[in-house]
Subunit: 351 residues, 2 copies
């Protein structure tokens, strides 16, 4: 039986859409669906010390992953973790400050890079695999399990910058002054991310998503070299080692570049951000595979008729091809949980 035939016979809508099937009701999940907008998340969060402790305590990570599944019956659960566990696993100092976000001891040259250790990553990230095993055992049979990692370019921006930044200036400075040195960091990330994603599949992940939040910041040539090519290499490796596992990529902000990226990386689906016109996505992206997106998270905060209209427009525009309903970016903390319920009902034709 071919992969597509296997997926099409699956009871999991999410896997069927990823295999290219057009469904009467598209599957739905939301980026950052386990998060601060949920009271029960905030309660569980208190039981962990730091944010990384929550990621590394399988019992708690399983619990917060399941919370939105219990509430809304999403078609997919995404393991609770963070894209910065990779630098943490490599031995770079990473910590989260309340109200500030992630901070890292910056890695800005080859000397600092030498201190990172690929061999310790999988041992350090063993708790993530425990989380996946726990989820595998507890998820409803119709719910798909998503593993994920940050894409190399985006993880590199944090590793080099030591924090989030509006212009990714530090990583660009290295990439522009010394592209071959910066390539060493990217290559390390391709390798270690491959190790990590393969381990996730071994632990039960059925789908993998690569988050490339800062894909939109690079000019064309560097976009190709440091953003598209690494994902293409990762995709090729996973195609060999885990041929049945679909890969979704989210090159946020790639604009017209989404099309080239989708075509050339060989991923099974792209997640597209709020700025992309769904009509354009139906025309240029959906012929290449499944697409996932792109309700504005702030329309979900606002609710009401503007949200309903946007939901309906997405369903009409993308419903005649393989489509996964999602947001254009992560759900935000101020989202009223009842709006999420209304969204799910509307997508499933219940109101």
């Amino acid at each position: 039986m071919s992969d597509q035939a296997k997926a099409s016979s699956s009871s999991k809508l999410f896997l069927r859409a990823l295999a290219g099937e057009t469904l009467a009701t598209p599957p739905i999940w939301l980026m950052r669906q386990a998060g601060r907008y949920l009271l029960e998340y905030r309660e569980t969060r208190k039981q962990a010390g730091g944010f990384l402790d929550l990621c590394y305590t399988p019992k708690l990570a399983v619990e917060v992953t399941l919370q939105p599944i219990r509430r809304y019956g999403f078609d997919a659960a995404i393991m609770f973790s963070d894209i910065l566990v990779i630098p943490d696993g490599l031995g770079q100092k990473v910590w989260f400050e309340e109200g500030v976000g992630p901070l890292l001891e910056p890695v800005t040259d080859l000397e600092a890079l030498k201190k990172l250790d690929r061999s310790r990553v999988l041992g350090h990230l063993a708790p993530v695999m425990e989380t996946l095993k726990g989820l595998k055992a507890s998820l409803p049979s119709e719910t798909a399990l998503i593993g994920f990692a940050g894409a190399p370019w985006t993880v590199a921006t944090y590793m080099v910058g030591g924090k989030g930044s509006p212009d990714q200036g530090a990583a660009k400075a290295w990439a522009y002054r010394d592209p071959d040195g910066f390539q060493v960091l990217i290559d390390l990330l391709v390798d270690v991310t491959g190790d990590y994603l393969e381990a996730q599949v071994a632990a039960g992940a059925e789908v993998l998503q690569l988050f490339d939040t800062w894909a939109g910041s690079l000019p064309a040539r560097q976009f190709r070299r440091f953003c598209l090519e690494p994902v293409k290499r990762l995709r090729a490796r996973l195609k060999k080692s885990c041929p049945d596992i679909p890969v979704i990529a989210f090159p946020k902000g790639a604009g017209a570049g989404y099309e080239t990226y989708f075509r050339e990386t060989g991923v099974d689906a792209v997640s597209f951000d709020t700025s992309v016109d769904p009509v354009w996505a139906a025309d240029r992206l959906q012929p290449l595979g499944a697409v996932q997106g792109n309700l504005d998270p702030l329309l979900l905060v606002a609710g009401g008729s503007e949200m309903d209209r946007a939901i309906d427009h997405l369903l009409e525009t993308l419903g005649s091809g393989p489509f996964i309903f999602n947001l254009g970016h992560g759900i935000v903390p101020q989202t009223p949980p009842e709006h999420v319920g209304q969204l799910v009902d509307r997508v499933r034709g219940k109101k």
Copy 2:
């Protein structure tokens, strides 16, 4: 003589490119070319109290506008001002804090909107017209004079949010909950921006640029209503009142939407950001008119062979149509002034 024939016979390269002419050497100017990367700017800046005082003191504003022309001989000078002079002119409280950026007393509902007064704007902004007249009298004959304003959507994000924000959340909240109320603000901005730009032309501006920094944050439907349509209306008004004056728009982050925007607004040129592939711009945008862009400002900071390669790629890719060399966003304070000199020389074939 037609507009195009008039512009083509002009000695100003910048006007010839805007009229659709392909030039052996494209004109060049840089967004924010009068700014903190220049020692002489920092010196002049000290003579003004607040940042708005600098904008409203014609002698100083003329001086800082001329500084980069003296140093580099750019093909165009852009009057020194800020997009927030419009809310300031309307009577909204606006101030700039060192290291923080602009702050405004937020306008978040129709009640607050009623307190704004379109009739005081041109009086309040009379110093800007003095600046333009001063520039007209002092610019070299080959240098074009650019006036500008913020586009309605982008100015609205600041007026509603009270400051810059990564997600334009406050303006979106209003636009999504009460689109017809928010439209009143947009309509006011279309009117007052039209008044302001016409006054700039009367004072000597030869080209107008509309800055729409946050064009990339809206979903398709709201992008059309609050971003594209207002610019289209402004363009139509100016076409009647100032038929000889070309308009450039910069809908930053519009992605594949640049094409629709260019086609439908009727502007003469679009400025495109760093994330846009120049090959795509040559293919999809340049057939519609002149294009302006898009060297990464951080490549200009880095300099060296990566910068040179990017410059050459832009010249090769866009040189066979109407093209204005510029950055993908404003020049940043840490730019070494000698890199700007190298850029200008390279574009002009001098090294």
